[in-house]
């Protein structure tokens, strides 16, 4: 444990802490200002204005118009809404393109489209290279006349690898195909400017950028046709029913404002911490391998495989030192196979079961990185001493 007794939280791609400024902004809307934004009275109306301020804050971070921002309940809802909207817009087109490394929010929706809609779909699952990057030639070849929508993530949650989604969107646009990007991991970590690209739908989730869990956004480009997913009241201009989660919306707005200010720090200080951690681990521990492209990557994520040991065992030993991270091993996923992302990259089994994802945030310190660097070699060495495959 760190001398200050605090947890060393390096699992920010799973979720993040709420920024104190965010909590402070939210508080009044959980107490005094409890009105319904749709109400006629001033008491509710002022709450409605807070929602609009938040909308403007989100739009600002994305380089979008406020009217292009729809608040949803989470990243998963945003993903579902976008893809199902596109399919309803083009009832005659039944082809969907996605990558093999999408988050379950996209993956499992696409796997269940036939059951869900009662229609047959053709799904193209784009493979990735060993470093997790996407090949644009195979993407181009997959675009077809009956393609309704492409869904490709901006950044991968497990490896942090970035996809050239802006280029891909332009290629889709040429063929009249709608383009969705799950940017849940990218927002706040890399600059995004929707004025400079042709992406139709973009998903983000509050809890990945220091806002609460259970709030998300779907960006829908102004002229892009849109079909409502959650029918109900006239909230969000009839595009998403349900009384607004006001406090969380306000929090997300504030978080986006902060993210804009912190973007530079994320790409300098946080990146430097990540690099220090990564280089330290790779140099002090034999048979440690970086998963994913070293440069084309989020500044906060490092996914490293420690060969011949198993991820859950590593995590539980880290946990004893109060260090939090994730693993792509089978045992941690609740399934019996290692993560679909690492498998799509062709990471060998010797390494896939022993992968650990470290994901940092602006709240991490150099002291914490040093602490992790001091603990990891022994954890790995002890487990390897126990492994029948380790010839140390």
């Amino acid at each position: 444990m760190m001398s200050n007794g605090k947890v060393v939280y390096m699992d920010n791609n799973a979720t993040t802490r709420i920024a104190p400024e965010v909590l402070e902004a939210m508080q009044p809307y959980l107490t005094e200002y409890y009105g319904n934004p749709s109400s006629m009275h001033t008491f509710g109306g002022q709450v409605g204005r807070a929602v609009e301020t938040a909308r403007a804050q989100v739009a600002e971070l994305l380089g979008a118009e406020p009217s292009e921002i729809i608040f949803t309940s989470c990243g998963t809802e945003s993903d579902s809404t976008a893809i199902l909207s596109a399919l309803q817009t083009y009832p005659d087109k039944r082809h969907v393109i996605k990558t093999k490394v999408e988050h379950p929010a996209v993956k499992n929706l696409c796997e269940n489209l036939d059951k869900l809609t009662g229609q047959q779909h053709r799904i193209t699952r784009l493979g990735v290279a060993a470093d997790g990057t996407l090949n644009l030639d195979s993407y181009k070849a997959a675009l077809a006349d009956d393609t309704a929508v492409v869904s490709a993530m901006w950044a991968n949650n497990e490896t942090g690898v970035l996809f050239p989604v802006e280029e891909m969107a332009a290629m889709a646009k040429e063929r009249g195909i709608l383009f969705h990007s799950d940017a849940v991991q990218a927002v706040g970590k890399v600059p995004i400017n929707m004025k400079k690209n042709q992406i139709d739908f973009l998903s983000l989730s509050g809890h990945k950028l220091h806002a609460p869990k259970g709030i998300g956004v779907l960006y829908v480009r102004k002229k892009t046709p849109f079909v409502t997913f959650l029918h109900g009241g006239h909230q969000e201009k009839g595009r998403r029913g349900g009384t607004e989660n006001v406090a969380s919306i306000v929090g997300l707005g504030k978080a986006c404002e902060l993210a804009g200010k912190m973007m530079a720090e994320e790409n300098t200080r946080v990146r430097a911490l990540r690099d220090k951690l990564e280089h330290g681990l790779l140099s002090s521990i034999p048979k440690a391998i970086l998963n994913g492209h070293a440069e084309l990557r989020l500044p906060n994520t490092s996914n490293i495989s420690f060969e011949y040991v198993e991820g859950e065992a590593i995590l539980l030993h880290m946990n004893r030192h109060n260090i939090c991270a994730s693993s792509g091993s089978a045992c941690t996923s609740g399934s019996l196979e290692p993560s679909h992302v690492l498998r799509a990259m062709g990471v060998p089994f010797t390494a896939a079961h022993g992968s650990i994802r470290f994901s940092l945030s602006i709240y991490n310190t150099e002291e914490e990185v040093d602490f992790v660097l001091a603990k990891m070699p022994e954890i790995i060495a002890n487990l390897r001493a126990m492994s029948p495959f380790w010839q140390g």
Partner: protein
């Protein structure tokens, strides 16, 4: 996060008997890197057929390491005959239970032990001679049938939890379902052809239940500072109330099902179901 018992944590953090014996009498190796867990067990057997030493090396998660560690503790000092009868449930029990998705770790322990004993005896295990049904995890039909029979598995999901078969691409699921059906059917026919135990009247049944509780169950629970009271018997449903330490104990459900129900089924009627009074 998995809910591991203190015992699992203990054996995971401070595993016993890690390593490899120099000149083992028997070696058992099961699992593979691809499967995500593997165990190499070496045993020393003396001229009287007693296992005098055992060491393990395991690649795998916390419950795989804990299962291996506790296995070596259990078998040290055991005769080969007794060790050959060890079940995976006994390994799981020694750990105070395992999450059901992790039962395959205890199965791996038993398989390694069997392989080590077979190596010591110089025989080839029948299990390895079956046909591979699940290619992802290299599980044979014989292993699956055995798991169904021994642990009374009733669904494909159960089979996956105990043997891993079906936990990968899912291609073998139909085959698993078929094996399950056939095995369950075979078990039912075997049971039907067994001589029927005499049917008990309700009064006889209650008396017998009371008797077993008084004679066997209560004294055992009392040793741990617990107690038990019979509340009601309705058909095959036996309602009891756990007292003292048992009622507060986290593993009271395990006590109820694995101990009380098992005893009553053995000694009164196979069909009894024990429930706790609310």
């Amino acid at each position: 996060m998995w809910e591991y018992t203190d015992k699992v944590q203990e054996h995971f953090i401070n595993p016993k008997n890690v390593g490899e014996l120099d000149k083992p009498s028997g070696t058992g190796e099961v699992g593979s890197l691809a499967c995500g867990d593997a165990l190499k067990l070496t045993i020393q057997v003396d001229e009287l057929g007693i296992i005098t030493d055992a060491k393990f090396k395991t690649f795998g998660c916390a419950s795989a390491i804990a299962s291996s560690s506790v296995l070596t503790e259990i078998i040290k000092g055991m005769s080969i005959e007794d060790a050959a009868k060890l079940t995976n449930q006994q390994i799981a029990d020694a750990l105070g239970g395992l999450p059901k998705e992790k039962m395959h770790c205890s199965v791996m322990g038993r398989e390694a032990l069997e392989a080590a004993i077979a190596d010591y005896r110089g025989v080839i295990l029948p299990m390895a001679q079956g046909n591979v049904v699940c290619e992802c995890f290299g599980v044979t039909d014989l292993e699956i049938i055995r798991a169904i029979r021994e642990s009374n598995l009733r669904s494909v999901e159960d089979i996956t939890n105990f043997t891993k078969a079906g936990g990968g691409c899912g291609k073998c699921e139909d085959k698993l379902r078929e094996i399950l059906q056939q095995t369950v059917q075979a078990m039912a026919t075997e049971k039907a052809s067994q001589p029927k135990t005499q049917r008990l009247t309700t009064l006889q049944k209650i008396k017998k239940i009371e008797d077993v509780i008084e004679r066997e169950i209560l004294p055992t629970l009392k040793k741990d500072g617990g107690g038990i009271e019979l509340i009601d018997v309705d058909g095959d449903i036996v309602t009891v109330s756990l007292r003292g330490a048992c009622s507060r104990c986290q593993s009271s459900l395990t006590t109820l099902k694995d101990y009380v129900e098992k005893k009553l089924r053995e000694q009164v009627a196979e069909t009894l179901i024990v429930e706790e009074a609310r």
